[in-house]
């Protein structure tokens, strides 16, 4: 009987070693260890054994069962691993197939630039002011020290609605509106982004374009504060290596006035086609708010000073993105817009 048991053990061990699948293992388990399995069958014959033999055979039988169970367990683990491995292999996908296309939209580059400008000045404590696009002659010109028949009105060819209303030619129109509302409170720190209109339409002029006006009014705001603020701004927008240059200029509503140039973003100031080989790019107009503008807005120009600047969003967007044709900004070709 002992021999029989050993034989069963050896057979089971062999069968287990040869089994290729989990089902087969189960069959083996049933065949040897099941209720009707071979080992059980053999043990049923134990009754015929003598009392001396019984413990010995019993022990052997247990050894054989334990050994089969152990092998069965380890084989099961192994085959399970193999099966899992195979399943994962079978589940492989072509990772190079294109992904699910989600529709992609985007903001207009002029909006992106305007927002960037806004964020910068919000961070410096400026608020955002707004004004009408159909503006009175008063806010667009008169109050800005540009009486009718002033030669400087030629700088801005104007669309008129009536004799006294017009499409604003500059976001500077928001200056006096804002100060009137704020006076006598201080400080006034605003930027005013928006559309402006001039009667020009050629390769470098669009009859509608976008400006951002800046205005800071307080006691003891100086020209050097204007320089510092714009210097910081230009480095923020065009990179930390950007240099600024202030040139004397003329705007009726600022005195002193300054045109601001930045070192050419294309050549870094060495001179190229974009900067007409000067190394500099004209970027905005600015100056100290003219005393008359402060006075019409209700501030005492002896005590209160301030600076103002106006920048063209298109110009900045073109330089920033290397756009060489103003008109593409308003053509709204989707292939253009998709690039932003």
């Amino acid at each position: 009987m002992e021999e029989k048991l050993r034989k069963i053990g050896a057979e089971a061990s062999k069968a287990l070693a040869e089994a290729g699948g989990l089902e087969e293992l189960n069959d083996i388990r049933v065949r040897y260890l099941g209720k009707k399995g071979e080992l059980t069958q053999v043990l049923r014959g134990m009754g015929a054994l003598s009392a001396d033999e019984r413990p010995l055979i019993g022990q052997i039988a247990n050894e054989v069962r334990a050994s089969i169970e152990k092998e069965l367990a380890s084989r099961t683990i192994m085959l399970k691993d193999l099966a899992k491995e195979q399943r994962l292999k079978d589940e492989g996908i072509d990772v190079t197939l294109p992904g699910t296309p989600l529709p992609r939209g985007g903001k207009h580059p002029l909006t992106i630039v305007t927002e960037e400008i806004q964020e910068f000045f919000l961070g410096l404590g400026y608020s955002i002011a707004e004004g009408p696009e159909i503006e009175t002659d008063y806010y667009n010109f008169e109050a800005l020290n540009l009486p009718k028949d002033h030669p400087a009105r030629d700088m801005q060819d104007t669309f008129f609605i009536t004799a006294e209303t017009l499409l604003r030619t500059q976001t500077s129109s928001v200056q006096v509106r804002t100060m009137e509302k704020t006076t006598p409170e201080l400080p006034v720190k605003i930027i005013a982004p928006g559309r402006v209109y001039r009667r020009d339409d050629d390769a470098t002029h669009s009859p509608m374009f976008n400006q951002v006006e800046g205005l800071a009014i307080d006691r003891r705001i100086t020209f050097s504060d204007l320089k510092g603020t714009l210097d910081l701004f230009m480095r923020e927008v065009f990179g930390p290596k950007t240099k600024t240059r202030f040139r004397p200029s003329y705007f009726p509503f600022t005195e002193p006035s300054a045109e601001v140039d930045i070192s050419c973003v294309m050549c870094g100031g060495k001179g190229c086609r974009v900067c007409s080989h000067t190394g500099w790019l004209e970027i905005l107009g600015s100056g100290m708010v003219h005393p008359r503008v402060l006075e019409v807005s209700g501030y005492n120009s002896e005590q209160v000073t301030g600076f103002a600047f106006g920048l063209g969003v298109e110009r900045i967007a073109m330089l920033k993105y290397g756009i060489d044709d103003l008109r593409v900004l308003f053509e709204n070709d989707l292939r253009f817009l998709q690039q932003f």
Binding site: P98, P103, T165, F223, S224, P248, E255, P291, L337
Partner: protein
């Protein structure tokens, strides 16, 4: 203003290269746009006299000339027709280089040897419009006495540089050589060289020979006349012609050239009348009478009006003051006496007049910026001296100078402390004083401050800030430090509306739409394209008085035409699918007075389909796409509940595929497919969907949103419900009933399937809803949910005859 470097040297020593001078000026506020080297690249061109002209044996259109260059006689074959024997011309020798890079070589023309070429002005880089008409297309002919064999560049003043100034409108004083010289002298710290003009005068006096009356002193504060007799009209000397050309003016005759030359040099426009043609030799300066007429120098009859200033004699106008002369008193070859006018006219009046007449001249340009009233006499004397020096006339003794109200000199108190307050930079009083003196301001100490007298040519300086700018710009803007404002710090915040607008743009861009920016003005014709009835209020657009074209002549009252134009443009470029939006304003006249309303509108339009791949079908950019976009937007913004109601009567849209968008009792806008008629007019082969949302209305229904609701502690339970229901019943109504019946325990409902076809009776559809039930305080039981679902089904059945589907 074009400034000749050599001419400038008459008044100040330069001793620095033209480009460097240009940079210095630019940084001082006199922007130099360009530095042009005259005669650049031109070499080996000399003066020569044509000795002979003989026919060419083999060509009718060519002649053979012998040209004497002083050293040799060259045989030159030419096709030129404007030359004759004895003419002195510029001759390009063998090996010469001309403007445009042309190199002259010995050549045979139809078998005859030619050793050089006679040059036109253009070939020497001279602007064609500054050439006399007879030489504009032929060889340039030099005055008869011009020495031979000289370098033509030298003779023609081409060894020079031109500084092209881009002057700001306040610096009218720099529309003259002496004005620029003053700036340069101050910048370089050198003196100016302005000489007195002297000339002998005839014994006879101007008194009794010229009478000047100014009727309106407000419009003409000074009028000077001088009388010149024995005038010989002819050509001006070559040096003068060259200088006029360098400034872009065409030489005409010695007298006219002198007036132009003095204007360029001193900034004072002058006018020469034929003295003998002035009736009674009597000048009357007055306003014109309405419908008065004058034939101007260009032989055009000008109709004048009462707001124009005219120079008249007793018979009528002889010139529009400061703008243009009259033909009747023009200086001609036969003129023997001239009256020279040097006057100061009111800038505003000149500006209006030249605008009304559409005449902008070099003279009016200067008058309207304000000339130096103190310089009128010097200028006329300079002209007289030039005329005398070139032997073109003799001057009668004396001057008629009507200087009605000599302007008292402007004085300004300059406080160095104030300059520091404004500039943020300490400038010592002594430096301020030096700078102002160098710019020819008179400076007097006055305690801590300076009492400054403004010279008459600086009409732009009138307040202390102007002086501060003068000091800052001469000191150098680059030497002002860069600081940030100190003191009261403020918080920069956006208004809620500004934040919402940014959120709207972000949301739509994130949903797959591209933002566009279109013009705020439009073509009134779009109202027809958009199907608007004639009485539609949207046709009442604000008109631009002076549009660039009809196409952009009214302010938009709706956004959609702009968006459709964008899609149409893209279509024509074969970009046929896409969704776009714009957030902008429409302009509504409010009827009373000049006021109007500007309304912010969010509009979108979409066409075609996007995406689509091996894995999923393309996303149709249809009604439901834009509706989904809006639903997301409303959810992101947190609006009150929004509902969509069919709108059938909007002419812009498809009557069966359009919804009015409503919330809180307000109409937020419209969403729909465009009317087929509109699509046809825009030639869209495909359906286009669009919406317009009025932001003011949208902002009014923004709920007090985003109060955190704690997450449910008990699981929600989902249950599907499918019903067969008549197709004409709007889904919105069904959903409303489901929500109302489900009450508080119904957390959400979504429609996940619509089916028509087999097993669904004619005219009906099967709609499958997923219902999610949720109680805050307990787990709902199956029985509760079944009861609720049954209640919903029964309500649908009784309201709409819906049948529960198994």
């Amino acid at each position: 203003m074009n400034v000749s470097y050599n001419w400038l040297q008459d008044f100040v020593d330069l001793e620095l290269p033209p480009q460097e001078l240009a940079d210095r000026l630019t940084l001082a506020g006199i922007a130099v746009e360009n530095v042009i080297e005259l005669g650049k690249g031109i070499d080996l061109v000399v003066t020569g006299r044509i000795e002979e002209i003989n026919p060419h044996p083999n060509a009718d259109k060519l002649v053979i000339t012998i040209v004497n260059t002083g050293e040799e006689k060259l045989q030159i074959v030419t096709a030129a027709t404007n030359v004759k024997e004895g003419d002195v011309v510029p001759v390009a020798l063998e090996g010469a280089r001309l403007a445009g890079g042309l190199v002259i070589k010995r050549a045979k023309l139809r078998g005859v040897e030619s050793r050089g070429m006679m040059c036109s002005g253009q070939e020497l880089g001279i602007d064609q419009k500054t050439m006399p008409p007879d030489q504009a297309h032929g060889i340039m002919i030099l005055p008869p006495g011009t020495p031979l064999g000289r370098d033509a560049k030298e003779v023609l003043g081409l060894n020079d540089h031109i500084l092209e100034l881009d002057l700001t409108p306040n610096r009218g004083d720099c529309l003259s050589m002496i004005g620029v010289a003053r700036e340069v002298a101050a910048l370089l710290g050198r003196p100016t060289r302005f000489v007195e003009h002297s000339f002998p005068e005839l014994k006879e006096s101007i008194q009794g020979q010229v009478r000047v009356d100014i009727e309106d002193p407000g419009l003409c504060r000074r009028y000077i006349a001088r009388l010149i007799k024995n005038v010989r009209v002819g050509r001006s000397p070559l040096w003068m012609q060259s200088r006029l050309r360098s400034a872009g003016m065409r030489p005409i005759s010695n007298i006219v050239d002198v007036t132009n030359y003095v204007m360029l040099e001193m900034g004072q426009p002058l006018h020469a009348f034929d003295y003998d043609k002035l009736v009674d030799h009597h000048i009357i300066v007055r306003s014109a009478v309405d419908e008065e007429k004058m034939v101007s120098l260009d032989d055009v009859t000008r109709e004048l009006s009462r707001d124009m200033l005219v120079i008249t004699d007793p018979s009528g106008p002889v010139a529009v003051a400061g703008v243009m002369g009259g033909l009747s008193t023009e200086v001609t070859e036969n003129t023997t006496s001239i009256l020279l006018e040097s006057a100061y006219f009111n800038p505003v009046s000149i500006r209006r007049t030249s605008k009304t007449l559409g005449l902008r001249s070099e003279a009016s340009l200067r008058f309207e910026k304000g000339i130096d009233i103190g310089g009128c006499l010097r200028a006329v004397n300079r002209a007289v001296q030039l005329i005398y020096d070139m032997g073109a006339g003799e001057v009668v003794n004396g001057v008629v100078d009507n200087y009605i109200s000599p302007i008292s000199e402007k004085t300004i108190m300059f406080r160095p402390a104030r300059a520091t307050y404004v500039l943020g930079l300490d400038i010592p009083k002594s430096e301020a004083s030096n700078i102002l003196s160098s710019l020819q301001f008179k400076v007097q100490e006055s305690g801590e401050d300076l009492l400054v007298t403004v010279p008459s040519h600086r009409v732009d300086v009138s307040i202390e800030e102007d002086l501060i700018e003068e000091i800052a710009r001469m000191h150098g803007y680059d030497r002002v430090p860069a600081t940030l404002p100190y003191g009261s710090s403020t918080q920069g915040v956006k208004t809620p509306e500004q934040s919402f607008r940014a959120l709207i743009i972000d949301t739509l861009a994130g949903a797959g739409l591209h933002e566009v920016i279109t013009y705020s003005f439009t073509n009134p014709r779009v109202f027809d394209l958009m199907n608007l009835p004639m009485d539609s209020p949207l046709r009442d657009a604000i008109k631009i008085q002076n549009p660039l074209s009809e196409e952009n002549s009214v302010m938009r009252t709706m956004m959609l035409p702009g968006l459709l134009a964008v899609l149409a443009n893209n279509f024509s470029r074969r970009v046929q699918d896409g969704a776009i939006f714009e957030l902008g304003k429409v302009f509504i006249p409010s009827g009373i007075g000049n006021t109007h309303e500007e309304r912010s509108v969010l509009a979108a339009a979409a066409v075609g389909r996007v995406g689509g791949s091996w894995k999923m079908p393309p996303l149709e950019l249809d009604y439901y796409f834009l509706k989904g976009v809006l639903e997301r937007l409303f959810s992101v913004l947190g609006t009150d509940p929004v509902s969509f109601h069919r709108e059938t009567a909007n002419p812009v849209f498809h009557p069966g595929r359009t919804a009015s968008i409503e919330a809180g009792g307000r109409k937020l806008g419209v969403l729909g497919e465009l009317n087929p008629d509109v699509l046809e007019r825009y030639e869209f082969p495909e359906r286009v969907v669009a919406f317009e949302i009025y932001l003011e209305e949208l902002f009014a229904v923004l709920g007090r949103r985003n109060v955190y609701r704690s997450l449910p502690k008990f699981p929600g339970i989902e249950r599907d419900l499918a019903v067969v229901i008549k197709r004409e019943i709007p889904a919105g109504d069904i959903l409303k009933i489901i929500r109302n019946t489900g009450g508080e325990l119904l957390d959400s409902v979504s429609l996940f399937d619509i089916y028509t076809g087999e097993q669904v009776s004619e005219g009906c559809q099967s709609m499958a809803f997923s219902l999610k039930f949720q109680a805050r305080d307990r787990t709902l039981t199956d029985a509760e949910i079944s009861e609720l679902t049954a209640a919903i089904a029964s309500e649908l059945s009784s309201r709409f005859g819906a049948e529960l589907r198994g």
